[in-house]
C-alpha cells in the first residue's frame, strides 16, 4: 500500500510538472508569436519612416531645387537642372543609392500640358514599394525671367523585406 501511495505521490508530482511545463510552453509560443508580429510592424514602420526621409531629401535636393543666388524656393524644381540631373545620375547610380536608397524618381508636367512621367533617377528595384507624390512648381528659366508650370514628383521607395 505504502509503495503504491508513494508511487501515486511521485506520479502526482510529475503530472504537475508536466502540466506546468506545458503551460509554460504554450505561454512562450503565444509570446513569441506576439513578438514576431511586433517585429514585422516595427520593420514596416522603419521602412515607412525611411520613405518619408527620402521624399524630404529629394524635395530639397540641390541638384533639382530652384535657386536664385542664395534664395531658395521650396517645392520647386528647376527644369534645366532636372534635365542635367537625369543625365548625371545615370553615371553615378551607386553614389546616389547611398543618398536615396533604392528609389525611383520621376516627374511629370501637370499644367499647362499633361505629360508622361520622365525618369530622373532609378536605383535597384523590387516588387514591394511605397509611393509618394509631391506636387511641385516646375521652373523653366528660358526665356528670362522664366515661367512656372505645375509638376508632380513621383517617388517610389523600394523595400526589400
Amino acid at each position: 500500500m505504502k509503495n503504491k501511495k508513494a508511487q501515486m505521490k511521485m506520479g502526482e508530482t510529475i503530472a504537475v510538472l508536466v502540466v506546468f511545463f506545458m503551460l509554460l510552453f504554450f505561454g512562450l509560443m503565444f509570446y513569441s508569436k506576439i513578438q514576431s508580429n511586433q517585429i514585422k510592424e516595427t520593420v514596416q514602420e522603419i521602412e515607412e519612416k525611411a520613405s518619408i526621409d527620402v521624399a524630404q531629401k529629394i524635395q530639397f535636393l540641390p541638384e533639382l531645387k530652384c535657386t536664385s543666388a542664395d534664395v531658395t524656393r521650396s517645392l520647386c524644381i528647376d527644369f534645366l537642372k532636372a534635365k542635367s540631373f537625369a543625365n548625371i545620375s545615370k553615371d553615378n547610380t551607386a553614389y546616389y543609392q547611398s543618398v536615396f536608397g533604392s528609389t525611383k524618381i520621376e516627374y511629370a508636367e501637370v499644367y499647362p500640358l499633361l505629360t508622361n512621367y520622365t525618369l530622373l533617377y532609378e536605383g535597384p528595384s523590387s516588387n514591394n514599394y511605397l509611393t509618394t507624390f509631391i506636387p511641385v512648381s516646375l521652373f523653366n528659366p528660358i526665356p528670362y525671367p522664366g515661367r512656372y508650370k505645375i509638376g508632380l514628383l513621383k517617388i517610389k521607395y523600394y523595400t526589400f523585406t
Binding site: 510538472l17 519612416k49 540641390p62 543666388a69 534635365k83 542635367s84 553614389y95 547611398s98 528660358i142
Partner: protein
C-alpha cells in the same frame, strides 16, 4: 530499524529531487531573462538608431537651425576614416567609411555620404544639432554639427575680432565659453569630458592647459585648433602628455568649414567629412555646368558669354572638386569668386542666372 533507514532515504531523495528540479527551472528562467535583456537592449538601440537617422536627416535639411534632442541613456560613437575615402578622380561611387554606433551593442548606421561633424563619443541625455548652409558660391549642402552636454568649447580671446565673431555666432545652447588668454589657467572642468580650445592667430607653444582640466579626462579628449584668417588656414593640435602638439593643417574656403573643424575631434575626422562634402560639391557643379550649357545654347547674344564654363569658372570648379587637397582648395578660391561675378553679371544684364 529497517523502517528508520527507509524513511531516511525517502526524505533525502525527495529533497535532492526538489533541488535538481528547482535548479533546472531557475537556470531556465535565468537564461530566458538574460536573452530578453540582450534583446531589449538591441531593440532600444535599433529604435534610437531609427529615430536619430530621421532626426539627422530632417535637421540637415533645414538651414541655420539648432535643435536639442532628448536621448535615452546611451553613448554614441562617431567614426569617419579619411584613409578609406575615395573621390571622383578614382571612382564613380566615392564614399568614406563612416558611421555612428549606439553604445556597445554593435547596432550602427552607416553614413558614407552624410556630412556630420561630431566628437568621437557623445554621452548623456541630450544631443545638440546645428546646421549651416555651405554656399561655394552655390548651395551644396548643409553642414550638420552635433554635440553633447559633456563637450566644452573654449574660445580663447586674445583681442582678435574674429574669435569674438565666431563665439557670437556659436549657438547659445551649446556649452561654450569665451576666456581671455591670460585666464586659461583658471578654467575648471565643471563635469565635462571633452575640451575643445579655439584660437585665432595664436602661438600655441605658449599655451599651458590647466592641470585640473588634464586630470579630469583622457588626453585624447583635449584638442585645439588655431585659425589663421589671413592665410585661410586651420591648424589642428592634439594634447600629448603636457602640451598641445601640432598634428596638421588644412586650408578652408568659408566659415562653415571653421565650425566643422571646431566640432571635429581631429584633422582626420574633419578631412573625412570634407571629402564627402567635396564629392557632393563635384556632382552639383556638374549639374550646374550642364545647365549652364543649356542656357548657352538657348541664350541671347548678350548673355552667351556668361554661360561659357571656361569663362565663368565652372570648369575649374568641376576639376578642383575631384579630390579634397590643399592645392585644390586654393584653386577653388578664385574660381568661386569668378562664378559669383558671372552670376551677378547675368542678373545685371537681365539674363537667366547661372545658379
Amino acid at each position: 530499524m529497517e523502517k528508520r533507514k527507509r524513511g531516511a532515504i525517502d526524505v533525502s531523495f525527495n529533497w535532492i529531487f526538489v533541488l535538481i528540479a528547482g535548479a533546472a527551472i531557475l537556470i531556465f528562467f535565468i537564461v530566458l531573462i538574460s536573452n530578453q535583456k540582450d534583446s531589449a537592449e538591441s531593440n532600444m538601440a535599433i529604435t534610437i538608431r531609427t529615430e536619430l537617422s530621421s532626426v539627422f536627416s530632417g535637421a540637415s535639411l533645414s538651414q541655420d537651425r539648432n535643435l536639442e534632442i532628448d536621448l535615452p541613456k546611451s553613448t554614441l560613437h562617431f567614426t569617419c576614416d579619411f584613409a578609406t575615402c575615395t573621390d571622383f578622380s578614382t571612382s564613380n561611387n566615392p564614399n568614406c567609411y563612416s558611421q555612428y554606433e549606439i553604445g556597445e551593442t554593435g547596432i550602427n548606421e552607416q553614413t558614407p555620404t552624410e556630412i556630420l561633424f561630431a566628437p568621437f563619443d557623445i554621452s548623456g541625455q541630450k544631443l545638440f544639432t546645428w546646421t549651416l548652409p555651405w554656399n561655394v558660391p552655390f548651395f551644396v549642402t548643409n553642414f550638420l554639427y552635433i554635440s553633447g552636454t559633456t563637450t566644452k568649447f573654449i574660445f580663447v580671446d586674445n583681442g582678435q575680432s574674429e574669435i569674438l565673431s565666431l563665439y557670437n555666432k556659436f549657438p547659445e545652447r551649446l556649452n561654450k565659453e569665451l576666456v581671455p588668454i591670460n585666464l586659461i589657467s583658471e578654467l575648471q572642468p565643471e563635469g565635462n569630458k571633452n575640451f575643445k580650445f579655439i584660437f585665432v592667430n595664436n602661438e600655441i607653444s605658449e599655451i599651458d592647459i590647466p592641470e585640473q582640466i588634464i586630470s579630469s579626462t583622457e588626453s585624447y579628449n583635449i584638442n585645439a585648433i588655431n585659425i589663421k584668417p589671413s592665410l585661410k588656414q586651420i591648424d589642428f593640435y592634439y594634447f600629448d602628455e603636457e602640451k598641445l602638439d601640432f598634428s596638421g593643417s588644412i586650408s578652408y574656403l568659408s566659415e562653415p568649414e571653421i565650425y566643422g573643424a571646431i566640432f571635429s575631434n581631429n584633422l582626420d575626422f574633419y578631412n573625412c567629412n570634407m571629402q564627402k562634402a567635396y564629392n557632393r560639391y563635384h556632382l552639383i557643379a556638374r549639374v550646374i555646368a550642364e545647365r549652364s550649357t543649356y542656357l548657352y545654347n538657348n541664350a541671347d547674344i548678350e548673355c552667351k558669354s556668361i554661360y561659357s564654363e571656361n569663362i565663368n569658372g565652372l570648369a575649374a570648379i568641376k576639376s578642383a572638386t575631384l579630390s579634397f587637397t590643399n592645392q585644390n582648395i586654393n584653386l577653388l578660391g578664385s574660381s568661386i569668386s569668378t562664378l559669383g561675378y558671372a552670376n551677378q553679371a547675368a542678373q545685371e544684364k537681365s539674363c537667366p542666372l547661372i545658379y
